[in-house]
Amino acid sequence: MSLFQLTLTIAMATLSLCLLLTAIRFAIGPTLPDRITAFDLIVANVIGIIAIYTEFTGNEDFIDVAIILSVFGFLGSVTFAFYIMKINK
């Protein structure tokens, strides 16, 4: 196991821990906007995990998944925010 693979493993483990902690905030978040920000961070974490997985396997096709995920993460959070603004008017 080279130093490069060790670094990638550490990064992957840390990002998985981040995902777990974000899931805790998603579960206990007192209000609905808290859950939207937790969803935003989950999307960012998954983009990072996809990037590191691309370096593990050397398969370049996964970068397109990251592009699509960033677009849909932005659309999802904005749509949730407008939905909450509409239902509480």
Binding site: L3, F4, T7, L8, I10, A11, T14, L15, L17, C18, L21, T22, I24, R25, T31, L32, P33, D34, I36, T37, A38, D40, L41, A44, N45, I47, G48, A51, I52, T54, E55, E60, I63, D64, A66, I67, S70, V71, F74, S77, V78, A81, F82, I84, M85, N88
Partner: protein
């Protein structure tokens, strides 16, 4: 000295450093999301830390592959994230203010309350003017009818 430099090793080291820095920023942002006391403070931690973390991780990926098309895709993701993260944070923050999401008790709210009071007074003034105009219209017709 430059002939002995192995480009593969340099690429791997630069990529490793960038990825570790990005992961550190992501971890700090996650701890901030979990530990901060207020919704608005949590949102500021997410918006800055996670954006910078994702940008650094993707830059490490682009430097490791060392091909122009992958670098172009990575730059597209980074620029899109840097443009859209503040917009999403602004929309969510405005939603939270409209929903009267509670503030942390130690927050300095003086200017915000003055602004909200002025906004409320403007609304009340406009509402009264609209009501006066609305009531004035039927009076002459009533006088003329009787």
């Amino acid at each position: 000295m430059l002939e002995n430099l192995n480009l593969e090793v340099v690429k791997e080291i630069v990529s490793c450093v960038l990825i570790l820095m990005g992961v550190c920023f992501m971890f700090i942002a996650t701890i901030g999301l979990l530990r901060f006391p207020d919704f608005y403070i949590r949102m500021s931690a997410i918006t800055k830390g996670a954006t910078l973390g994702v940008g650094l991780i993707l830059l490490g990926l682009g430097i490791y592959f060392n091909q122009p098309d992958i670098m172009l895709k990575v730059l597209a993701i980074i620029i899109f994230t840097f443009i859209t993260a503040p917009v999403a944070a602004h929309v969510i923050g405005r939603t939270a203010v409209r929903n009267h999401s509670p503030f942390w008790p130690k927050t300095n709210l003086q200017e915000f309350e003055e602004y909200m009071l002025k906004d409320h007074l403007e609304k009340m003034k406009n509402h009264d003017r609209y009501a006066e105009e609305h009531h004035e219209v039927p009076k002459p017709s009533d006088g003329g009818g009787t």
